[in-house]
């Protein structure tokens, strides 16, 4: 680490280029600004003669879409892609997001015509393989969670939360037990309180203790006959295992409430710990986190929910059942006094049957790893996070300030004490990391510590990659401490765009292109 300070210093001011392009960084206008009217990137035949049936609703006004050829489109989107950071291009240490490698085998499998070119409403005789895949995925997820049922239709983690909380409310209603409150720790993902509110519940926050875990005494004080459930993330968003979880579960159950677990951080324990053994009644899994289906710049995801026996009868439609030696979809709740499959279901949560494309990828991922590989995933994820912890924490030779001392699970939480009196904020620090070629960690979350920096390397980073990241973060921290705040405040300067004015964007939202675009140019 010697000799680095000479290498830094004030950046040389770059002379602007004539074009605004900078080498491989090419300025790219919107497709709407590249219109060659009448042009088309797809060759289509003339429609054959036919007796039209559009009647009075035939479109008259033009749509206003631009015309471009295929080479222009390919270049446009290729150039746009080059303005993105991705797990394919570098370490992506976003805490609680589990940005791990996305195996390409799974992309190939999801595109097999037998899965991708399959309509969800084809006759059952023609989709037995698809139902078998879903049933197999369910088996893996049930085995890994130890829970007896899994609802597969939720489209993402937040949708899974909604599914889980709905089944809880339905179970309480079925036993004539209207309860009003949901307990949510302060460190929870924002989706937890938002979900509980959509289900018609009041949210009651639970404080964290000095060890970054749920304060058991505070929890017990809040438990009562009107508490429907606790929504807990475990491992929690401080990267810590809730070590009193068995006591928590017992207290929740003694109060007649359900225990919902946000499984966003399942990657830390997959194959090693079964949520059922922790007393959990409902748990969603993010297939786009633990099971590596690509995040795609924001989605799609998939959020299956594992359910305890008490909640399973309320699982959403459709159900897949084994009947007469084949698999059958139950798409309507059974009616009549005799009941039957899905008689108590909460109903349908989305169109059709779930995120099949994600199911194929996730099953491909799980089968590739196997029971042994999945356990190794959890162990390496935890090992990598702890390695970064000791490389970065000031108590073990780094320069950052860990919020809650001691070992972590799959992610490690720091706060901004190491930036005290430097004039550098967590945001500035993150932006400076961008110039060094790394995607920043999660910032300002969880809310339980000041200026949070939450780092999750995942198991798919090599030791060399972790070392490089740790060296960079420590060097930046040293630089922040050396009174070089201006460099941080000006960062990033090497990206296609420098720091963007989010306040201006929100003040007068400009959410689409218009032919007469109002000018929104900040003055230099």
């Amino acid at each position: 680490m010697t000799g680095w300070s000479q290498a830094l210093g004030a950046p040389a001011e770059e002379a602007p280029t004539l074009t605004g392009n900078r080498g491989l960084q090419i300025e790219e206008p919107l497709i709407f600004e590249q219109d060659s009217p009448g042009h088309c990137g797809v060759d289509l035949p003339e429609p054959p003669p036919h007796r039209g049936r559009l009647g009075a609703l035939e479109r008259r006004a033009p749509i206003g879409l631009p015309g471009l050829s295929e080479p222009q489109i390919v270049r446009h989107f290729t150039r746009l892609s080059q303005k993105n950071y991705a797990i394919d291009t570098g370490l992506y240490p976003l805490g609680s997001c589990t940005m791990k490698h996305n195996p390409r085998l799974n992309e190939k499998l999801a595109r097999l015509p037998g899965f991708a070119d399959l309509h969800p409403l084809q006759p059952e005789t023609t989709i037995q393989g698809a139902l078998e895949l879903i049933d197999t995925l369910a088996h893996w997820l049930k085995t890994l969670t130890g829970m007896p049922a899994v609802a597969l239709s939720p489209a993402a983690g937040a949708h899974g939360e909604l599914c889980g909380m709905m089944t809880i409310r339905a179970a309480l209603t079925a036993r004539g037990d209207a309860r009003r409150r949901i307990l949510v720790p302060e460190s929870a993902h924002g989706t937890n309180p938002a979900t509980a509110a959509i289900c018609g519940y009041a949210i009651d926050p639970i404080a964290a203790n000095a060890r970054g875990r749920v304060d058991l005494a505070a929890l017990k004080a809040k438990l009562g006959g009107d508490v429907a459930a606790l929504m807990l993330t475990n491992p929690n968003t401080c990267g810590l295992f809730e070590d009193e979880i068995l006591e928590i579960a017992a207290a929740v159950h003694a109060a007649g409430a359900f225990f919902y677990c946000d499984g966003a951080n399942f990657n830390a324990i997959v194959g090693r710990v079964r949520p059922a053994d922790l007393g959990i009644d409902a748990l969603h899994l993010n297939l786009h986190k633990t099971f590596s289906t690509p995040h795609g710049g924001g989605g799609p995801g998939s959020g299956p929910v594992a359910l305890a026996a008490a909640l399973a009868p309320f699982a959403p439609l459709p159900w897949i059942v084994h009947r007469d030696n084949r698999l059958t979809l139950v798409e309507q709740a059974a009616k009549g006094p005799e009941g039957g499959p899905a008689a108590s279901s909460i109903g349908r949560l989305k169109g059709f049957h779930g995120q099949m494309g994600m199911f194929v990828r996730a099953l491909g991922y799980m089968m590739s790893h196997g029971a042994d590989g999945l356990r190794q995933v959890a162990e390496d994820a935890v090992l990598n996070a702890n390695y970064l912890r000791v490389r970065l924490d000031r108590k073990t030779g780094g320069l950052l300030s860990q919020s809650f001392p001691g070992p972590c699970m799959h992610e490690v939480l720091f706060d901004d004490r190491f930036l005290k009196d430097t004039g550098v904020t967590t945001l500035d620090f993150a932006k400076a990391l961008i110039d060094e070629g790394f995607h920043p960690m999660t910032m300002y979350f969880p809310l339980v510590v000041h200026g949070a920096l939450l780092i999750e390397p995942t198991e798919t980073e090599s030791k060399a990659s972790l070392d490089q990241f740790a060296d960079t973060v420590n060097r930046l921290a040293a630089r922040a401490g050396s009174g070089d705040a201006a460099v941080f405040q000006a960062a990033p300067r090497l990206t296609p765009r420098r720091r963007l004015d989010e306040t201006a964007a929100a003040r007068k939202p400009l959410l689409r292109w218009r032919r007469e675009q109002p000018k929104r140019e900040a003055t230099k």
Binding site: G41, D117, L144, A156, A158, P193, F352
Partner: protein, 446 residues
């Protein structure tokens, strides 16, 4: 294990650096009672070849839509997607990036979403659109919730000709949020009496409707607005807007649509892409992410996620929706396909679909005992058969023809719908497919 870069010696070195003897020490805070010594009861790791073989076997047990004369729609449509679309969305920079929370590292995703929002607004004739939701059905439920927030009224009236899955999803959400749902009976090709009272937040209708009929909702808009309610228009076949008057022109306040038809495969029902558009005055009540234009520190145009004070990660229990992950990559596929088509292509593709459906309807309605229910349609229509439609669909599936969807699949208790068959035809249907269908249907009815 091919996806794990750490070597045994790396692991030893790292454990030593951490100062523990074994990995178990790092799991010490997991209660002993919940620790598992051995492996879970699942198969062990496999190579690419073995996994591909196993899943290919499952895939081969299905009848892929492209290997049969195929006429199924009802909210998911089989279209040809140009090869460039799938190539571009598989670029790692798009495929393996996260939600664009760090805008300086995600201008590619953000600019393409800004283009997506613009395309959706243009196609639907609305002022603004968001950066996607899960699918059309959940977009519909979000539209109802948004109408409730805007009007502070508690009832949603759902047309009987709204897709049954959309009706069911609205009902599921409503039974927990406390809204009243008035769902009308499904009556194909009949005018409905949509009662609007002082507690009605919105009326939800569809165009083309579930039975394929084209509907002009302009008069209903006026009625809704006189009564202080909003009109939500659902579109399950977004390509129809290449040939049909858009909901914005009919005065819709919110459009909730399924965008799968552009850029996305059938995928056995998911992932698809929910489209959500509204009038600008209601933008702060919209669910989901929004990309907005702004400038960077040098005054250059750029894009960011904006109005996030509506969203769960800022507003928590007061958010407009709990949605976080959406359908970003499917939205990108939509945008690339629509960009390739452009104005000329999307209108022509819509015409091709319409032509295919018109020819098919004329052929099938010419068979004895079969009646075309629709007066108008885009690429899907309803036939009244002389026998239960489910029997015909099963019989034709035996002959390798995927003939459509019997309405009884959605409404098993409605005797009046038992003989109703929904049939879709897109640009992928060939003359030979139509011949096969007609022949098989004629035989099945004999």
């Amino acid at each position: 294990m091919r996806y794990l870069p750490l070597t045994p010696s790396d692991r030893q070195q790292m454990l030593a650096a951490i100062g523990v003897d074994s990995i178990d020490a790092l799991f010490a805070e997991v209660p002993k009672a919940a620790q598992r010594g051995g492996l879970v009861d699942l198969p062990l790791a496999q190579g690419e070849l073995e996994v591909e073989r196993a899943l290919s076997r499952m895939a081969a047990k299905n009848l892929a839509a492209g290997s049969a004369p195929f006429f199924i729609g009802a909210g998911a449509y089989r279209h040809h997607v140009p090869a460039a679309v799938d190539h571009l969305i598989q670029r790692g920079e798009f495929l393996t990036s996260y939600t664009p929370y760090q805008p300086e590292l995600a201008q590619g995703t953000l600019q393409s979403l800004f283009e997506f929002q613009t395309q959706v607004a243009l196609l639907t004739g609305m002022e603004v659109a968001n950066a996607s939701l899960y699918d059309g059905a959940t977009a519909c439920a979000e539209a109802v919730a948004m109408a409730h927030r805007i009007t502070r009224r508690n009832k949603a009236v759902l047309s009987g000709a709204l897709h049954p899955h959309y009706r069911e999803v609205c009902r599921t959400y409503a039974q927990f949020s406390g809204l009243d749902i008035a769902a009308l009976d499904p009556r194909p090709a009949e005018a409905e009496t949509l009662d609007i009272d002082s507690d009605t937040a919105c009326v939800v209708v569809q165009n083309p409707d579930f039975f394929g009929e084209l509907r002009d909702w302009s008069a209903l808009t006026a009625r809704c607005h006189r009564a202080g309610a909003l009109l939500v228009v659902v579109v399950t076949e977004i390509l129809s807007l290449g040939a049909v008057t858009p909901p914005g022109e009919m005065g819709a306040d919110i459009v909730a649509a399924e965008g799968q038809s552009l850029g996305n495969a059938l995928n056995f029902g998911g992932p698809h892409v929910g489209l959500f558009a509204a009038r600008e005055q209601h933008v702060r009540q919209m669910p989901g992410r929004l990309v907005g234009q702004t400038a960077d520190a040098d005054g250059r145009r750029g894009w960011v996620l904006t109005l996030s004070t509506r969203e769960q990660h800022i507003r928590r229990e007061k958010a407009t929706s709990n949605i976080c992950t959406n359908s970003g990559l499917c939205a990108l596929a939509f945008t690339i396909h629509l960009a390739l088509l452009g104005e000329a292509g999307v209108t022509r593709l819509a015409r091709l679909n319409h032509a295919a459906a018109c020819s098919l309807a004329d052929r099938l309605a010419g068979l004895p005992g079969i009646r075309l229910v629709n007066k108008s349609f885009f690429n899907e229509f309803s036939l009244r058969l002389p026998v239960p439609a489910a029997e015909i669909v099963a019989a034709l599936a035996e002959k390798g023809v995927l003939a459509g969807i019997p309405a009884s699949r959605f409404y098993p208790d409605r005797a009046d719908l038992a003989n109703l068959l929904l049939v879709a035809a897109t640009e992928t249907v060939t003359a030979e497919d139509v011949d096969n269908y007609e022949r098989a249907l004629r035989e099945a009815l004999r």
